[in-house]
């Protein structure tokens, strides 16, 4: 079984693939009428705490990057909140990752599916307030989608800054509570103390869209796609070679299979960045897109980014550019990240330039060790993951650069 999903050739208005029955089944830029025509109206009154058991049965995990199980998050919120405190649910549509555009695409074409999921999640935890947090490009669509609905509680639309870190869960809560989209050190979990001290659930918008379908069709239906360990489908932002595309792929899908479906020849695609700037470079052969521990040869999909290294581009130079970006994207709150990422970036630049002997590679490994795990959010850890994967996957290039050449180019200027 395959799902064609949609394809966005460079922009969200591009040609559509074969209609899928899943997230984009209502077609391009679906309003409430077309949404209800395609999916049927969701009877929210029927949704209560028992929806958490449906989510448990479905095995749905977060599609924003961490792949945490959705039902466990809800149980934690129901457990951790005080007797009086009403929970808050936030739909997180902030998509600061430069190579990700699946959430913007989803919000443009299927805003009502996301709102259905948000309302269903709200009912499952008895939420008193619902928010949808998204970048400038999605706000107009979301405001008119919210205006078309008369549900209670009302949904508040909150603008997210276009920074890399703005979508990190504690930054989302900080932004909504205090207007500062920077990560916080969590002495208490968000499930017990989040937005204005209330127990808070932050779900990626795609996760909520899946919830909207599980609420309609049930857990067994969701599991018809994907594998036992990684059920359902996920959206992928595919870039780096030809037109950009959003694809809906099944859990555990093989990387070469996804590339063929995208119209590329997997045999010529040697290096793919999976998961985005916080992800890892891999050789696609024999690898599957699946969260850790769910498949042999699994590569963590992270936020669903697949970026193919274009032929003729050097992976080390591409990575050096990404690490420069990551260093600049530090929130500059935590010392090891504020000082460590620029040091990593310098060493990575030196490796990419080449011809300096083994010094920069050793320095890169040493500084990575100083940065890894030493921050309030996972920005340093994600950056280290990217660098380590580049040194492993492009090891031939590292050796060539040390000798003053490059495997991608016949000759290099010194």
């Amino acid at each position: 079984m395959t799902f064609a999903g949609l394809e966005t050739a460079g922009s969200a208005t591009g040609p559509w693939g074969r209609e899928s029955r899943q997230l984009f089944a209502a077609g391009p830029f679906a309003d409430l009428g077309r949404h209800e025509l395609a999916f049927g109206r969701l009877t929210l009154e029927r949704i209560d705490r028992s929806f958490i058991s449906d989510l448990e049965g479905s095995g749905l995990t977060g599609r924003g990057g961490a792949a945490f199980s959705s039902w466990r998050k809800m149980v934690a919120t129901n457990r951790d909140r005080g007797r009086a405190a009403q929970a808050v649910v936030v739909a997180n549509g902030a998509e600061g990752e430069p190579l990700s555009f699946k959430d913007k695409t989803l919000l443009a074409h299927a805003p009502h599916l996301v709102l259905d999921g948000l309302l269903a999640a709200g009912r499952a935890v008895g939420a008193g307030q619902l928010y949808i947090y998204a970048g400038e490009a999605s706000l107009a669509t979301l405001r008119s989608a919210v205006a078309a609905r008369r549900e209670n509680p009302r949904i508040m639309v909150v603008p997210a800054p276009e920074t890399f870190i703005a979508g990190e869960a504690s930054a989302v809560v900080n932004s909504i509570s205090n207007g500062v989209a920077l990560p916080m050190d969590l002495r208490r979990r968000l499930s017990s103390s989040g937005v204005r001290g209330r127990p808070t659930l932050v779900f990626n918008v795609e996760t909520l869209a899946h919830m909207a379908l599980i609420a309609r069709h049930g857990a067994a239906w969701f599991r018809e796609a994907g594998t036992i360990g990684d059920p359902g489908t996920r959206l992928v932002s595919r870039s780096g070679y030809g037109a950009e595309q959003v694809l809906e792929v099944e859990g555990g899908a093989s990387l070469p299979g996804i590339l063929s479906r995208a119209g590329l020849d997997p045999a010529t695609m040697h290096s793919v960045l999976v998961g985005g700037f916080h992800g890892e470079w891999v050789h696609p052969a024999g690898r599957q897109l699946s969260p850790p521990g769910k498949a042999d040869g699994g590569v963590h999909p992270g936020a669903g980014v697949l970026h193919v290294l274009p032929a003729g581009e050097c992976g080390l130079e591409a990575t050096a550019g990404m690490v420069r970006y990551l260093a600049a994207a530090s929130a500059r709150q935590c010392g090891p990240c504020m000082f460590g990422l620029p040091a990593m970036s310098q060493a990575m630049d030196a490796v990419a330039r080449g011809g300096h002997g083994p010094g920069p590679v050793q320095e890169l490994e040493r500084v990575s060790r100083l940065v890894d795990g030493r921050g309030s959010c996972h920005h340093p850890d994600g950056s280290v993951r990217l660098v380590r994967s580049a040194l492993a996957i492009f090891s031939d290039d590292v050796a060539a650069h040390l000798a003053g050449s490059c495997t991608r180019f016949a000759t290099r200027d010194p």
Binding site: P336, C337, R374
Partner: protein, 75 residues
């Protein structure tokens, strides 16, 4: 139940007091920030505090000029 010393990296300024009180557990990195001498898995950040170090760890929490430290049960 064992205890860990949590470093709030958003507050830590690398003044180094904790590294002087717990020199066998914490070193300083290139920029002066506390660096766990042992990796518990997941990086050189928070450290496990044994009973013999509990008094010194409590001092570190109380004396940290940026209130960046917290003693809490290990996860």
């Amino acid at each position: 139940m064992s205890t860990e010393l949590h470093i709030d990296w958003t507050r830590c300024d690398g003044r180094g007091l904790c590294t002087e009180l717990l020199p066998h557990l914490l070193a300083r990195d290139d920029w002066g920030y506390p660096l766990a001498r042992r990796d518990r898995g997941g990086g050189l950040s928070d450290v496990e505090i044994g009973v013999n170090d509990l008094a010194a760890a409590r001092d570190a929490v109380a004396l940290c000029p940026t209130f960046a430290l917290l003693l809490r049960p290990s996860p």
